[in-house]
């Protein structure tokens, strides 16, 4: 077996409205692929006659719908799992119900699946549910979607009907782009009742040349926690055998435990993503202690290295404080720890979610107390629009901000679904009230208070629906600071953001009209600008400051006025020669003639930033591209 090609199990889900024929489709698939036993088939035949909903035909849905109530009503009311083999692939299918009120089941199934088959009734076409299901699946991390256009037998096997539905499916996928969701997708025309395009290509629809359901299921990739986020591990259990009394224990201790004094301990857990090797230096989070992996155990064997998905236990070189829920990553990797998040929530209980309420938060890194500090919006699952919301009712999905009573490690859900997903548990009933997916941490995690009723910077910023920040543009005269800041401000304005530009022109004439260009005056100029910018950031504004600000010390002084993350140094870089050629205000010419003393670059120094948050090179990039770069990197 080649490393990294571990054959894994395909976990997929089916969704659709009540009568779309999901259970029939999967039941028929099981039958056609030899996954139904003879006695089960006999039971199916007799039940089809007695309680079937398929007329004279075999009602394959009876293979799927397990609970008594479901069989009587002919509906599926909870997720049912079925196991079968397709060629060499073991498949687990989660059959999820389609009624509106069961969004939670869909989210549940999607959290553990990589692919989804979404059923569409060819007669009804794309309906509200189709859009809803596609959005929920995609938000929960489903990467492959197959739209199964069912009941083609009742739509005259019509190619035009299929094409029409296919283009509506494409529209749904296009509408997901604002959420930054881009699942891979296809559509297939089928008849679950008659078996067309389930396993073999349909005789009734020769015009269709794409994959059948079974072909699709055997060719899509089986498993991934998400894009590579490095080695992620959460300690589940601490193994401390003491001195074993049994013979097998003595043998084990002889085999690989150097210290037989009973001090052996290992940290058991399942690798969420990435790979770890013996000898790797690791970082323990959130305590940030360092240690080294001296042994890796899987079941009863010692390994040199271990991969994503494996349940192992790690022996570390140091006696350090590690408890259940501790995160272990590789030294050099980065994982955020925070007590405040922005997250997607799928609400699952009747009792609504209301801002200010407290819930138990459970992630792979343990339990904390959580307060929903703000409901940002609710998504209309049909139009995909963000709506204002004061509460989430059952099955609502939307964005919230939340604060925890302790700092926890995490990854954005898009990077890793196992370290970015969490539950919210009702403290009164212990029910799982909802689930969430971390979008990102909110800044200033360290010093935000639990209760904040006064109007402060955060409150002002919330009202404006933005993150207040100071973008400090530094660079030579003529490097393009003002041009870029001007464009950026227009862009932010169009996004509905509240901004203010500070530059030489609007401060030198008033606030700083008493100052010249000596080193001392330049420093004072920058100090005043820094203080003004701070007031503006406190007011919740996005401030764009354009100053040559040639001295490192001055820029660092301004930085020190702000909280971490609020001061973003943007180095607008262009070679002196180019700036001099551009010379938009004719200043270089004057300086060369000796008419301007202390002109930066000519007769005064410019100290390049050491570690600016953002660098834009105006020789290589157009101003528009620079603006995009800044928007992406600053997260505005």
């Amino acid at each position: 077996m080649i490393e990294g090609t571990k054959p894994s199990i395909l976990r997929f889900m089916t969704c659709g409205s009540v009568d779309d024929g999901k259970s029939t489709l999967i039941g028929h698939l099981l039958y056609l692929t030899g996954n139904v036993f003879e006695d089960q088939y006999q039971t199916l035949l007799s039940e089809s006659k007695r309680i079937g909903h398929a007329g004279d035909r075999v009602d394959y849905s009876l293979l799927m719908d397990g609970l008594i109530a479901e069989r009587e009503q002919g509906i599926t009311i909870d997720v049912a799992y079925k196991y079968f083999n397709l060629k060499d692939r073991k498949c687990i299918v989660a059959d999820t119900p389609g009624h509106t009120e069961y969004t939670r089941n869909m989210a549940t199934a999607a959290s553990n699946c990589t692919a989804a088959v979404i059923l569409i009734d060819a007669r009804l076409g794309v309906v509200e549910q189709t859009r809803r299901h596609t959005l929920i699946c995609s938000l929960c991390g489903i990467q492959h979607i197959l739209f199964a256009v069912n009941k083609m037998d009742l739509a005259d096997w019509s190619i035009s009907r299929f094409m029409e539905i296919q283009s509506l499916c494409k529209q749904i996928i296009d509408d997901l782009k604002p959420f930054d969701l881009r699942p891979e997708w296809q559509a297939v025309p089928v008849s679950a009742l008659w078996g067309d395009n389930i396993v073999s290509s349909s005789e009734n629809m020769r015009w269709y040349t794409g994959v059948t359901i079974a072909q699709w299921l055997t060719t899509i990739p089986a498993y991934s926690a998400g894009a590579d986020s490095g080695f992620r591990f959460s300690v589940q259990y601490i193994i401390k055998p003491g001195i074993g009394k049994e013979r097998w224990q003595k043998e084990a201790l002889d085999e690989f435990i150097p210290e037989k004094n009973g001090n052996y301990r290992s940290y058991a857990g399942r690798i969420l993503s990435g790979k770890i090797k013996k000898g790797d230096t690791v970082l323990i989070l959130p305590s940030k202690q360092e240690s080294k992996v001296v042994n890796i155990l899987k079941e009863k064997k010692q390994l040199e290295s271990a991969d994503e998905g494996m349940s192992v236990s790690l022996v570390l070189s140091d006696k350090i404080d590690v408890s259940r829920g501790t995160s272990i990553i590789r030294q050099g990797d980065f994982q955020e720890c925070s007590d405040q998040f922005k997250a997607w929530i799928v609400w699952m209980q009747k009792e609504p979610l209301i801002a200010g309420r407290m819930y138990l938060f459970q992630s792979i890194y343990g339990i904390a107390l959580a307060e929903i500090t703000r409901i940002r919006n609710r998504i209309d699952l049909f139009t995909f629009l963000h709506l204002e919301a004061e509460r989430f009712e059952v099955n609502d999905i939307g964005e919230v901000e939340m604060a925890l009573n302790r700092v926890v490690p995490f990854d954005p859900y898009r990077k890793n679904k196992y370290s970015g997903g969490f539950l919210l548990i009702d403290r009164k009933t212990n029910a799982t009230a909802g689930c969430g997916m971390v979008i990102h941490a909110l800044r200033r995690a360290e010093n935000v208070h639990w209760q904040h009723f006064s109007v402060d910077k955060k409150a002002r910023a919330q009202l404006k629906n933005q993150k207040p920040v100071l973008l400090w543009f530094t660079g030579l005269s003529g490097s393009g600071k003002s041009t870029i800041a001007d464009l950026l401000e227009k862009k932010l304005y169009s996004m509905g953001k509240h901004t203010m530009v500070l530059d030489g022109d609007n401060v030198r004439h008033g606030l700083c009209k008493d100052l010249g260009f000596t080193e001392q005056d330049r420093t004072e100029n920058i100090r005043r600008v820094g203080e003004v910018a701070k007031l503006m950031v406190d007011a919740g504004l996005i401030v764009l400051a354009c100053f040559i600000s040639p001295y490192k010390a001055d820029r660092e002084m301004v930085r020190s006025l702000f909280d971490p993350g609020e001061f973003v140094e943007v180095y607008v870089r262009a070679p002196l020669k180019v700036c001099e050629q551009r010379d938009p205000k004719g200043l270089y010419k004057k300086a060369r003639k000796g008419e301007i003393p202390n002109f930066t670059g000519i007769n005064a120094p410019y100290e390049e930033p050491d570690k600016p948050e953002i660098v834009v090179d105006t020789l290589e990039l157009t101003p528009e591209k620079c603006v995009n770069e800044i928007l992406v990197k600053s997260g505005l």
């Binding site: 077996m1 003879e38 549940t108 049994e246 201790l253 052996y264 459970q362 992630s363």
Partner: protein, 299 residues
Amino acid sequence: MDDSYLDELIDESIMIIREAAAEARNPVLLYSIGKDSTAMLDLAMKAFYPMKPPFTVMHIDTGWKFKEMIRFRDETAKRLGLELIIYTNQEGARAGVTPFTHGSARYTDIMKTEALIQALNIHGFDVIFGGARRDEEKSRAKERIFSFRDNKHRWDPKNQRPELWRLYNVQRKEGESIRVFPLSNWTELDVWRYIRREHLPVVPLYFAKDRLVVQRNGQLFLYDDERFPLEPGEKPTVKKIRFRTLGCYPLTAGIESNAETIDGLIREMEETCFSERVGRLIDFDQSGSMEKKKQEGYF
């Protein structure tokens, strides 16, 4: 079929076992001696290796298990050094409840379901491992991996906690408990392939051998001891049979087979066209019968 896909099932099961053990105050593994329990127990041994699993092992003995099962149970406990609790509903036994006198439904209710509830109450177990698989029966296909039970041990299929990612909500109040099914995603064949790969000993009844049997209603029952009441005209005969599933001998039918080894058994299974519960009488008592039993507290 290549059996390396088993690795993923093993990793998942070990994760489940560790998670449940970490969250339990007083955990117990329900050991029923069969192949599923054998696999589950082996996985538990691996999950904490080289530490002993941090939980008690318990067998609910109805008094009607195959003799070979009891022998195998005691040997296993000794070999692994397990603390084994054996519990029998003494009240039921004293009242003379047997599968022959009270019918399979009533007998199962008293000697299995009631016995289990009594044992759980006596010991105060709050996390209970069971070897059930979702592919066994339709109502089990809906059961959670961590299945919440109220303080009367009842299952409410309409009000189950959703299980997302690898997060299991085990919050519970005094008296409430969680049943945990580490083999939820395994199939019968997966279990056998695992037993073969790991060379695990199993009760010899799973392999074909000439055995003394009674044929009744088209099914073959082992004449395990003289407590088996023969009906007029019935006479035990020798047939080469094996069992796909093991329970109480009067309620568990065997199948005629030549599979004497594990390889033969797996080959036979790959070719077979009957599901395993066909040999379990209690599933056929009434339509939807497993679901009803589970609501009342049966595993």
